[in-house]
Symmetry: C2
Subunit: 338 residues, 2 copies
Amino acid sequence: MFGFGNVGRFFAETISQKREILADRYGLEIVLTCVTDTTGAAVSAQGLDPGVLLDAKRSDGGAAYCPQYGQPGIDPRSALANARADIVVEATPTNMTTGEPGLSNIKLALSSGMHVATASKGALVLAYSELMQLAKERGLALKFAAAVASPLPTIELADFALQGCEIKSIDAILNATSNCILRSMETGAGTFEEALKDAQRRGVAEANPRLDVEGWDTSGKLVILTNALMGKVSLNEVERRGVDTVTPEMVKEARAEGKSIKLLGTARRVNGHLELRVVPVAVPPEHPLFAVNGIQKGISIDTDLAGRLTVIDGGAGPLATAQCVLRDVVNIARFHMR
Amino acid sequence: MFGFGNVGRFFAETISQKREILADRYGLEIVLTCVTDTTGAAVSAQGLDPGVLLDAKRSDGGAAYCPQYGQPGIDPRSALANARADIVVEATPTNMTTGEPGLSNIKLALSSGMHVATASKGALVLAYSELMQLAKERGLALKFAAAVASPLPTIELADFALQGCEIKSIDAILNATSNCILRSMETGAGTFEEALKDAQRRGVAEANPRLDVEGWDTSGKLVILTNALMGKVSLNEVERRGVDTVTPEMVKEARAEGKSIKLLGTARRVNGHLELRVVPVAVPPEHPLFAVNGIQKGISIDTDLAGRLTVIDGGAGPLATAQCVLRDVVNIARFHMR
């Protein structure tokens, strides 16, 4: 596992706590053989004790200081070689400009013959087709449930439930920060700036909120989803306008009509090509995503055979993202390793 | 395929229309070798031409009258033996009192070494554990996406997206007829009887609506879902009250509070045992199924790791049910036959 932040820690905890369930349901034992972070890595091809690892992280601040297994300053390539893993979990912080360090990590894992479950979306936004091609050539799986609107089952829906369907369009609310800001403007009737400050106070928005409020995060997720479900697209094709363009007047007008403004990501097929848009839209009560508020996310997929299917989460944090990583790891083990 | 009504016909059409997509995506060719209905069967181990079959159904009214392949009056056992199928689709009309003819058909298929995808729920309501046990003993799959709130991805969600999760509760709106009647009482403010008559005129309710309006259909589906997702339960454990008990006063009172009455099926774990209930409930706007209206269906699942996930369809007919059959057939071929 590359990266040992919140998601990584919850993942380590979860595979330890759910050991029996994983054995019972899937006949599976997940052994963590390597964890890297900025300090270096903890490595043991026989398996790290998640308890010892989590203690080390809490008390000494880094994987490299884990008793017995810590290797300060070791590079990812050497760590991976020592780990002898079947699957690499990529859970480093995402970067949508360079895709790094995820991009290099994923390439390294695939070219080392390891399957990948990534929780970080930067690399996929920038190089979806290239990475998928690389995985395909090597006969490996590259999965990313945790990278796109976790814990919504988006790719799983397409993979396991929409057999034979053509997906006609995607509508989605994918960014919790933007959705919280809009909700707060709706209920408090303040300006965007006030709502943003409030969100920052509550820890919902980051100190540098640009990626979220300008719609980049939604656009990145939409690009990955569209690539996976509909066809090849890139980030520069997205018509993008963020919640920073929403005024109190727009919110008031929408409410007067019984509508609610959402930062809606949409992908649809128009005259044979894919049209992607991330813009604030006043949606009416009958819109399938009307009730997606605050930290909730939602996606609505229109298909030819099964009609419209909408999935909405209840508002989720890093534990749910870790569950998405587990989802991918289990599915790789079940469907790509036997 | 046992049964050749709407779902069966759409299934035959769909596998023909989606031939290329199924080959491209899954390397799969689905060959229909036998179709039975009340007239007998059409059988060809080399494969029936869906076009010829559908023409025969339209013009002569039965599979047995299909040119070249028709076998009037042949019994299911002989038809199955001649079909030499890998998978049996059970799509006969459902009966929740006896489970027949589905129950016998499913047992026959499993004991003949064939996987089963059933669109008919009666047998599963009455004998879920027995049938699953039979399938397990023979190393066969018994799937039922089309039998429970199709096209909602309920079982697929649990199978492919909720790895490691414990399901704490299920809330669901599973019966379109009841939901339409409630909607019509809400918008027209009439009595149950008036709303029912209106639904019958529009073809939404059957001539004998008891199974729907008394909550039996919802209870049956809830029992199957609970067995599949949470643990062993039977139909007589369900506390049941249908929409026939809803009065205009109840609807008015709910609306005055901003609520909407739904026939809600709920399963939850209380003090270690499972508590099932199908009753009309006035749900507030923040309830995840508040916006499920008319012919829509919805299910909301609360989990320990991924939080709450809610899936809602856009209102679906027999084509969507046929897609669910296809879903099961493809998944059986991918995961149980290779």
